[in-house]
Each structure stands twice: as structure tokens, then as C-alpha cells.
């Protein structure tokens, strides 16, 4: 199966003139740089013991271009590495930090692990760690949107490992049967924690799995912003036009650990890492934008400095913010608190007072 590429690893345009406006291209570049800057800072905080856990997107930043074709009404169903997509849709760095620190200001009220971003305001549901289980949910939401006549597309992200889960099978099968307006965007980053792609499936590609469900599929260079954008644009349009799901295999590479709890040196080679470093999505896009006169080192340095400063302020705010009140763990499940929960709440409060 062919892999769609418009911008090669050196930043040379090998495809058609991009359809993205100059302004959008710069926005995508800024989003990618923001993610990388955040990742570096957050990993440092994690190593200092100030954040409990972190999952970086290093090497996979071009995936943000897949969110460009989405409207405000569309929904994002993320996997572990799509926090940056929420940022492009209005979620702020300050919210990002409150989430990681689990403060009273965090949208999830401190109830989720770090990196399980969620924000109703930007139509991004929470990542749930169980691999692949959000895929049938995305298909169900798409089916519901279609049933209710809403113009909404569900954009679901997954990794190569999730394709072996039954939930992927259900989602693809039902999605195709119902022609649900959704897109399955698989970031094939070659490793499911420590399982290499060759041990994940006997197929050469993820894209060819679409045949089993009669779902059209496409394989793209996931480190090429233009290929990512084009594939997502076509798939979103197809879904919106009532023609059902598309499977996109975005071939990329996770340059960091699976998470801050992982040490990839234990299972993968330096040569492989180096090979992928040379295909960095930001480097190649920087080269292209610089040639177009839309970006340069100076501009990048200034942008990074401003992101750094926003991050600094956000860290300060998050560290200063109190934790959510202990009684908040009893709220938000029942419209009216049932007596047995009420009793537990009172017991806890009494104990807190004694303590």
C-alpha cells in the first residue's frame, strides 16, 4: 500500500501546492512548537517530582494538522497523545497545567490521571487509559449525531496497539454498517509500549485492515503536515457527506518513552531512534515555511519564549491553586445525592475533623 507524502523528510515539497492558507500553516507550526515546548517542560517537572505522570507526543506533533478540518461542533475522541489538539481548539495552557496538577481549577476536578485531558467546551472527551475503548463510543456518538440530524463528525485517535483490541473491531464493523460520520485516525508510532509493530499484527500496514469492514483507508506519512491535513480533510468531508467512516494510518514514531514511567532504551535501538529523528515533523515543516518566508529562527525563538512564559505563569498558578475539596469526590454522579452516599460523606467529614 502506498504512503501518501507531500513534504519529504528534508522539507521539500514533493506534492501539490498546499491548500492551507499562510495563516493556518503558521498556526499549525505554532501548535507543534507549543506541544514540544510543553513536553520538554512537563517531563522536567515530572523528573523533579512535581507532576506525577506525563505522556509526551515527541515526534508525533504533525498529528495536530488532522484537527484543522474539524468544526467547533465536531468532537475529538483522543488517545494518550492528543492533548495538543485540545490546545488548538481553545483549551488553554493554564487549563493544561491545572489538569496535570489536579487542582481545584482542573476541568476534571482532580479525578483523572495526568494527561487525560478533557474539556466539554472544546468538544474533547476524556482519554480513558483502557486501550481502544473510546472507539465504539465515538462510533456510537457519530451514529447518534446522524440519527439526530446534527452536522457533527467524530474524530477518534488510536495507536497501532489499539488495532488488536476487540473495540477496534466493533467500532470498524458498526461504523461501516451504520455509515456513521466518524474518522479513525491511527497514529502508528511503531511501538505499543514495548511491543514493536511487527509483533502487533501480521499485516504490513494498518490501513489494509479497512478491507475487512469495507471501510476506505489511506496510509500517510504522519510526520508530513500536508499529508496529515489532506487525509483528515478528505475523511472528515466524506463523513460529513454521509458516506461513513475512513481509517487513516498515519505512519510516525514515538521518540520519547511511552510515558514518564517507561524506559525505551530497554527495548529499542539508538539507530532506529536516530533514523526517525531525521524525519522530524517540526524540522521539515520549519524548512518549508522558512523557504516560503513564513517562519525563521528568530520568529521561532520569540514564539518559544512566549510559550515558556505562559507555561511559567501556568505552573505558578497551578502550584498555588488548592487541591479540590475532599467532599467533591461525592458529587457529579447523582443529580440528588442518595442517602448512603450522604452518610459516607458525613462519616468522612467527621473523620477529617477528628484528624
Amino acid at each position: 500500500m502506498e504512503t501518501l507524502q507531500h513534504l519529504d523528510a528534508d522539507g521539500t515539497l514533493v506534492g501539490p501546492e498546499p491548500e492551507l492558507s499562510d495563516e493556518t500553516m503558521v498556526e499549525v507550526m505554532e501548535a507543534m512548537v507549543t506541544i514540544r515546548t510543553l513536553d520538554e517542560r512537563m517531563m522536567a517537572l515530572q523528573r523533579q517530582g512535581r507532576v506525577g505522570f506525563y505522556g509526551q507526543a515527541r515526534g508525533q506533533e504533525a498529528a495536530v494538522a488532522s484537527a484543522v478540518p474539524l468544526t467547533e461542533d465536531d468532537w475529538v475522541w483522543p488517545a494518550l497523545r492528543e492533548g495538543g489538539i485540545a490546545l488548538t481548539r481553545g483549551y488553554t495552557i493554564e487549563q493544561y497545567l491545572h489538569h496535570l496538577f489536579g487542582t481545584v481549577e482542573a476541568v476534571e476536578k482532580g479525578r483523572s490521571m495526568p494527561c487525560h485531558y478533557s474539556d466539554k467546551e472544546v468538544n474533547q472527551v476524556s482519554f480513558s487509559s483502557c486501550i481502544g475503548n473510546h472507539l465504539p463510543q465515538a462510533v456510537g456518538a457519530a451514529y447518534a449525531a446522524d440519527y439526530k440530524g446534527r452536522d457533527q463528525v467524530m474524530m477518534a485517535y488510536l495507536g497501532d496497539g489499539a488495532t488488536s483490541e476487540p473495540d477496534f473491531h466493533y467500532a470498524m464493523n458498526f461504523g461501516a454498517l451504520w455509515e456513521a460520520p466518524c474518522v479513525l485516525f491511527c497514529q502508528n508510532n511503531q511501538w505499543s509500549i514495548s511491543v514493536p509493530f511487527e509483533q502487533q499484527t501480521a499485516t504490513d500496514t494498518i490501513a489494509e485492515k479497512g478491507v475487512a469492514y469495507d471501510v476506505p483507508s489511506v496510509r500517510i506519512d504522519g510526520n508530513d503536515v500536508f499529508a496529515v491535513h489532506e487525509a483528515a480533510r478528505d475523511a472528515v468531508q466524506r463523513a460529513r457527506d454521509g458516506h461513513g467512516p475512513t481509517l487513516i494510518e498515519s505512519v510516525t514514531y514515538r521518540r520519547g518513552g511511552h510515558s514518564s514511567s517507561d524506559d525505551p532504551d530497554r527495548y529499542r535501538s539508538d539507530e532506529e531512534l536516530e533514523r526517525w529523528r531525521r524525519r522530524d515533523p517540526i524540522d521539515r515543516f520549519r524548512t518549508y515555511l522558512s523557504q516560503r518566508g513564513l517562519w525563521d529562527e528568530e520568529r521561532e525563538a520569540a514564539f518559544v519564549a512566549s510559550v515558556e512564559s505562559t507555561i511559567d505563569d501556568a505552573i505558578e498558578a497551578a502550584e498555588a491553586a488548592p487541591k479540590p475539596p475532599i467532599e467533591s469526590m461525592f458529587t457529579d454522579v447523582h443529580a440528588e445525592m442518595p442517602p448512603h452516599i450522604q452518610e459516607q460523606l458525613e462519616l468522612l467529614e467527621a473523620e477529617q475533623e477528628d484528624g
Partner: protein
């Protein structure tokens, strides 16, 4: 895709492909197994309607798909059944009396009255137990294949399932691991057009089941499931390839369930009469009989002899089954622990006391 359907005999019994090199007695044995299965279906459904059997599942219309594929296996191979393969158990040597004892759940039932009717199990023939949860048997076949490969046994596994099972998670898990681990496993889907009341068109958006193999990196073959010679040939090639280290195969047998899903189902509620009539013209037994007649292996005398013999066997087994007692009450405590733990012993004694005092 329909053009890719492997066929040796057309619906009228004309040879359209290459006839596998089977001896005459083997060919007749396959016919007898199909006829036995059909006759059992008729008789057992009658008993079920009379209230003498709690439940029954017929395989009417699907005889070629399961008998042909089972006959393509070797003795040491393992077969993992779905629930519509009576001929598989018989072909693997299960005596007709054991078959009927299982339906009655009596003392001589090999599953000791612990299973629903039709949930046969036959260890001597390397056939696993039928398990009702749809698709749950598929990863078992992958595991058996993997184990055989690991131990260096010259053995392959074959598993049966229906079109409905292909939408289950276990189908995905079983086939994915088979592909990755390159196990000697053959996955036989009997696509009979209906998953209880759900038609194939609502089961999957793909045109065929066979193409689903593409998602797992191994070959998928589509065969006329009402053509026993084609089913035999395709399965034999797949099993040989599996034993030779060539990995798994998915076989889609295109067939039709002429009866109901089970004795608890009424298909006239959901499927059109014309569809049934159309498939009746493609009956797997009729076309094979025509072929055997053409070959000089079959004639009316042979038919009469076979039918009389099977009928006698069935009636003898039924008479005997009726008179056999139920399994002893205390047997429900057996076969889980090698040595019975004290708490079970206590429960057993309590039950036996109660049973005695209520007599």
C-alpha cells in the same frame, strides 16, 4: 467476490472443478454422514416437539460444510466446534448412542448431564466441547495451534463458527494472534446467511467473510459450502499448509441454514419464503447424491440400505437412552478437584442427606 467461490460440483451435481482423489468407500462414508445428520435432525426435532427433548439444533442444509471439512482433518488434529456440527462428532468416531445419550443427559452421557442438549464433547476424537457464547471458541483454536507448534507436534487445529461470530471480539483476537504467531490453525466460517434473525447484510459492510483475512495477514478462501468436495479440498489444502508451517487460513463456506436457529426459534417470522425455496434447490445432499450416482457409487438399493441401517441405529439408541437413569446426584461434585476439598464434601453430604430424607 462471488466469482471467487471455489466449486467442484454445481447445484445439479455436475462436476465443474477438480474432484479430490478420494476412494469410493470414503466418498460413500461422507454421504452416509450427511444422511445420518439429516435423519437425526428430523427425528430429534420430532422428539423435541413432543416434549421428550428439551432443545435441539438442526444442521439441515449445512451438512456439506461441516462434514466435508471435518473429513479433511487427520486423527491427531484438534477440532473446536461451534454448535451446528453433529456430523463432526460422528465423523470423529463418537457412537450414535453417545450422541443420543448426550441429548437426554442420562447416566451414559459423556458430559454427565451437565450440558445443554447439542453441547457435545468428544475427547477420544479430539473434539472440544461446544460452548454457547458466540465466538468464544475461536481463540482456543489459535492457542491449540500455537501449543502444537511450540511442542513440535505435527498437528493443526480447525475451528467452526458462523457469520455472526465474525463480529465478535474473539474473532478479531483469535485471528490476529494466529497471524502474528503464524499458528497452524484453520478458521472455518459457515456463513449460513443468518445470525439467528440478523441477515448477513446487517452483520458486516464487507461483501464477504473471506476478505476479513486481509486484516490479519493470511489467506482467506471462499468456497461453495453446499459442495462437499469443494469444502473437503479447500480444507485439506489449508490443514496441510498449516501443518507444514505455512500458517493459518480463513475459509468462508457459503451455505444456508434451512432449518431454524434452534428449536426455540421460528424463522418464518423474519425470513422470506422465497429465499428458503431458492436455497432448497441447492441442497448439499441432493447434489452429492447425483454425483455419486453418476460415478456408480450410489443407487436406490444403496440408499435404502443406508437409511434402514441408520434408522435402526437411531431407534435402538433412543430406546436405550430412555431407560437409562439420570446421572447420580452426587456426580455434580466430581471432576473439578483431583481431591475433593472439605467444604464441597460437606455440601455433598448435606445434599445426599436431604435427598434421602425427602424420599
Amino acid at each position: 467476490m462471488a466469482d471467487d467461490l471455489v466449486q467442484v460440483l454445481d447445484a445439479d451435481g455436475n462436476v465443474t472443478g477438480e474432484v479430490p482423489p478420494l476412494k469410493d468407500d470414503r466418498m460413500l462414508e461422507m454421504y452416509e454422514l450427511m444422511v445420518t445428520t439429516r435423519m437425526l435432525d428430523e427425528r430429534m426435532m420430532q422428539l423435541q416437539r413432543q416434549g421428550r427433548l428439551g432443545f435441539y439444533l438442526t444442521a439441515t442444509g449445512e451438512e456439506a460444510a461441516h462434514v466435508g471439512s471435518t473429513m479433511a482433518c487427520r486423527d491427531p488434529d484438534w477440532i473446536v466446534p461451534q454448535y451446528r456440527e453433529p456430523g463432526t462428532f460422528l465423523a470423529r468416531g463418537m457412537p450414535l448412542t453417545s450422541f443420543i445419550d448426550q441429548l437426554f443427559g442420562n447416566e451414559e452421557d459423556l458430559t454427565k448431564g451437565r450440558q445443554m442438549p447439542n453441547h457435545f464433547s468428544y475427547r477420544d476424537g479430539n473434539v472440544l466441547s461446544v460452548s454457547s457464547p458466540v465466538g468464544s471458541q475461536i481463540p482456543h483454536a489459535t492457542g491449540i495451534g500455537y501449543a502444537a507448534d511450540y511442542r513440535g507436534d505435527d498437528v493443526a487445529s480447525l475451528v467452526y463458527f458462523g457469520d455472526g461470530a465474525t463480529s465478535q471480539g474473539e474473532f478479531h483476537t483469535g485471528l490476529n494472534f494466529a497471524g502474528v504467531l503464524d499458528t497452524p490453525s484453520v478458521f472455518v466460517c459457515k456463513n449460513n446467511g443468518w445470525a439467528i434473525s440478523l441477515p448477513f447484510e446487517e452483520q458486516t459492510a464487507s461483501e464477504t467473510i473471506a476478505q476479513k483475512a486481509d486484516a490479519y495477514g493470511f489467506p482467506g478462501v471462499r468456497v461453495d459450502g453446499n459442495d462437499i468436495l469443494a469444502v473437503y479440498q479447500v480444507t485439506k489444502e489449508a490443514m496441510d499448509r498449516a501443518r507444514d508451517g505455512g500458517g493459518p487460513t480463513l475459509i468462508e463456506c457459503r451455505t444456508y441454514r434451512l432449518g431454524s436457529h434452534s428449536s426455540s426459534d421460528d424463522p418464518s417470522r423474519y425470513r422470506p419464503e422465497e429465499e428458503l425455496e431458492d436455497w432448497e434447490t441447492r441442497d448439499p445432499i441432493d447434489r452429492y447424491r447425483d454425483f455419486l450416482a453418476e460415478r456408480g457409487i450410489w443407487d436406490n438399493d444403496v440408499e435404502e440400505e443406508i437409511r434402514q441401517q441408520i434408522e435402526d441405529e437411531i431407534e435402538t439408541a433412543l430406546d436405550a437412552a430412555k431407560d437409562k437413569p439420570d446421572p447420580p446426584l452426587e456426580s455434580m461434585f466430581d471432576d473439578v478437584y483431583e481431591e475433593m476439598p472439605p467444604h464441597l464434601e460437606e455440601q455433598r453430604d448435606e445434599l445426599l442427606d436431604e435427598a434421602e430424607s425427602s424420599q
